[in-house]
């Protein structure tokens, strides 16, 4: 940690203060464009949470997980079932979130335990299968006993409530209006900051270094006395926990969830965020998640007007152009920056050494 001290502290802290200021003002600036942008930002923050969780599994420990969204689903459904009219249960969120995180962690171990022996792409397909199984089960668990309400999903999910202050209502404080998405925004930013700090601390900890060793060479790591079984399970469990927490927030902010939100494409999206941003680098992953959640939205709002002004009418379905550009962006970024936008230190080292 001493080596870090070389960074000029004044510059560092003023950068932190600037970022904090931007984060505080952001929702009010976005509200000027439209409240929907605050909601989009909240979704983006949820993706940041997911990407950070997946980064532990993929980036730190090097275990390719293509079914990560399953843990998100588990967290979301736990929250939905314990705080909605579906079962008539309305537990407070600070009770449910830990339960959801715990169940998600359990699922993580459940997935991790039988797959410990698998390597590389075999693990990828098993996790993918696991994700699909969870989704299909959620989709069909409405018969013979209705547990998840099947494809219709769960509606009327409770918002967060802290001491009588409901997140669903607009409240006024210091003459400023705090709408529902704005309140969630601040809560989510707080959670993200905590989780980013946890991740940064984790990376250079004993556990983080052990994960890195496993990622680079599992056999050698074991020879060095690392308990690979326990650490791999820990990676799965921790990744799943973050996914579960994100899922709980997703339920609360959306008020409605259905299995459709947890399809394979979502898993792939989160993997893309991690890899595109720079596997193993916390800031890269945050950047990847923010970019990949905002770029499609920005395209959604620009593609049609641009076509209108160029040709006077909509020639091509904006949705198609949006996805085409998105796919193209994935390909191009990888072609020009194969290690991601902000490569992790280890990757940087590898690439320069090879050259």
């Amino acid at each position: 940690m001493k080596a870090r001290g070389s960074r000029p502290p004044v510059l560092f802290w003023s950068a932190v203060a600037l970022i904090a200021l931007v984060l505080v003002v952001l929702p009010f600036a976005l509200t000027q464009i439209g409240t929907s942008w605050v909601r989009i930002t909240n979704l983006a923050i949820l993706y940041v949470l997911l990407a950070l969780g997946l980064n532990i599994v993929v980036g730190f420990a090097g275990l390719l997980d293509l079914g990560y969204i399953a843990f998100y689903a588990v967290g979301a459904y736990t929250y939905a079932l314990l705080a909605s009219p579906h079962f008539g249960l309305h537990l407070p969120f600070w009770v449910i979130l830990p339960i959801g995180a715990g169940i998600a962690a359990l699922f993580g171990v459940l997935l991790g335990a039988p797959t410990l022996k698998l390597r590389g792409d075999y693990l990828a397909i098993v996790t993918l299968g696991f994700g699909e199984i969870v989704r299909i089960v959620l989709n069909n668990l409405s018969r013979p006993v209705n547990i998840t309400n099947g494809p219709q999903g769960v509606t009327g999910i409770d918002p967060f409530r802290i001491d009588g202050l409901s997140f669903a209502l607009t409240s006024k404080l210091f003459g400023l209006e705090f709408s529902e998405p704005t309140k969630y925004y601040y809560l989510l930013v707080l959670v993200v900051v905590v989780i980013v700090v946890i991740n940064l601390r984790l990376q250079n900890s004993r556990i983080g270094r052990a994960w890195e060793a496993i990622r680079e060479d599992e056999t050698a790591a074991r020879a060095m006395g690392i308990n690979t079984t326990r650490l791999k399970l820990l990676a799965f469990a921790m990744g799943a926990t973050f996914g579960g927490i994100a899922g709980g927030f997703f339920s609360a902010t959306q008020h409605f969830i259905s299995p459709e939100s947890f399809v394979l494409v979502e898993s792939i999206m989160v993997v893309s965020m991690v890899v595109l941003g720079g596997m193993g680098n916390v800031w890269g992953v945050v950047l990847g998640a923010v970019l990949l959640s905002f770029v499609p939205e920005v395209l959604r709002w620009t593609v049609e007007p641009v076509q209108m002004s160029l040709f006077g009418r909509t020639l091509i379905d904006p949705e198609v152009i949006r996805m085409l550009l998105f796919g193209l962006a994935l390909v191009l970024v990888m072609l020009f920056r194969p290690a991601g936008l902000l490569p992790s230190a280890v990757r940087k080292r590898e690439l320069t050494e090879r050259a």
């Binding site: 039988p114 075999y122 199984i133 998105f326 990888m334």
Partner: protein, 328 residues
Amino acid sequence: MDIFLQQVINGLTLGAVYAIVALGYTMVYGIIQLINFAHGEVVMIGAMVALTVINLLAAAGLPPLVVLLIGAGCAIPVCMLVGYGMERLAYRPLRRAPRLAPLITAIGVSIILQHLAMLVWSRNVLAFPQIIETRVYTVAGAAITNVQIAVLLVCVAIMAGLAALVYRTRLGIAMRATAQNAQVAGLMGIDVNRVIAATFVIGAGLAAIAGVLVGTYYGVAQYTMGSILGLKAFSAAVLGGIGNIPGAMLGGVLLGVVEALGAGYIGDLTDLCRIAGISDWLTQRCSGGGHFVLFGSNYQDVFAFVVLILVLVFRPSGLLGERVGDRA
């Protein structure tokens, strides 16, 4: 009708198609250790091109079989071109990149192909022209159609042809050498780039045929049809041991049969009314011929994955896969 035999026949037909698609995955994986996520989309493009050509020729009054063959004959080169193009543009530049980078480009290519197809062929479910008149034969109490027989025959022929190519020709030797060690193969005078491109082209050609077969068998085609098919085929390739050609064939057929049998029997097997005696509540629910089915046939898609996971837990490198050390 004999349900067991019927499901086996249906499963074999579906499994044979899975196997053909799985071959494309496994050949590419064997040679450059890349999961070509866009392979399923190539199958879709094959089906779509054939559909368009067949519709165009419908008025010409040619015999149906000839029309179908022309359709396939157009689909194959188009798919080969797509396969070559994506190898050249999206994968070749990344051959020395970190392992996950080509995976992401593969996902990107898959998104691009899917939406290009949506642009060309709309987002609707299209009817694949059923120009071959379906005839049903009864064998030992089970029905088998002429289309099913044709699908099976074509698949067997393709597998035999591919095996001959890989194990008997110079190109096959070059492919196997490159799969073992690309660098050394290069030193032995093999043009590794050409061999890899050839692998993609052959895989894409197989995908085109698979697309035509699926379209003819199910009678529908849509721009999303490639994803689930690709997923199943990829599972089949892993089940057999990815990178292993006989493994892909075995995995595909096995997966198809398991899926069909599973869908056929799971409802009966998990009907709790079979053991209604264990509780009064159940007895009440089941009285009067009622059912209390835990898992219905809508769990069909789960089977493929459950079987896959179980097999991999006990045989971590697939059914026929060799136990390889770390390739890192």
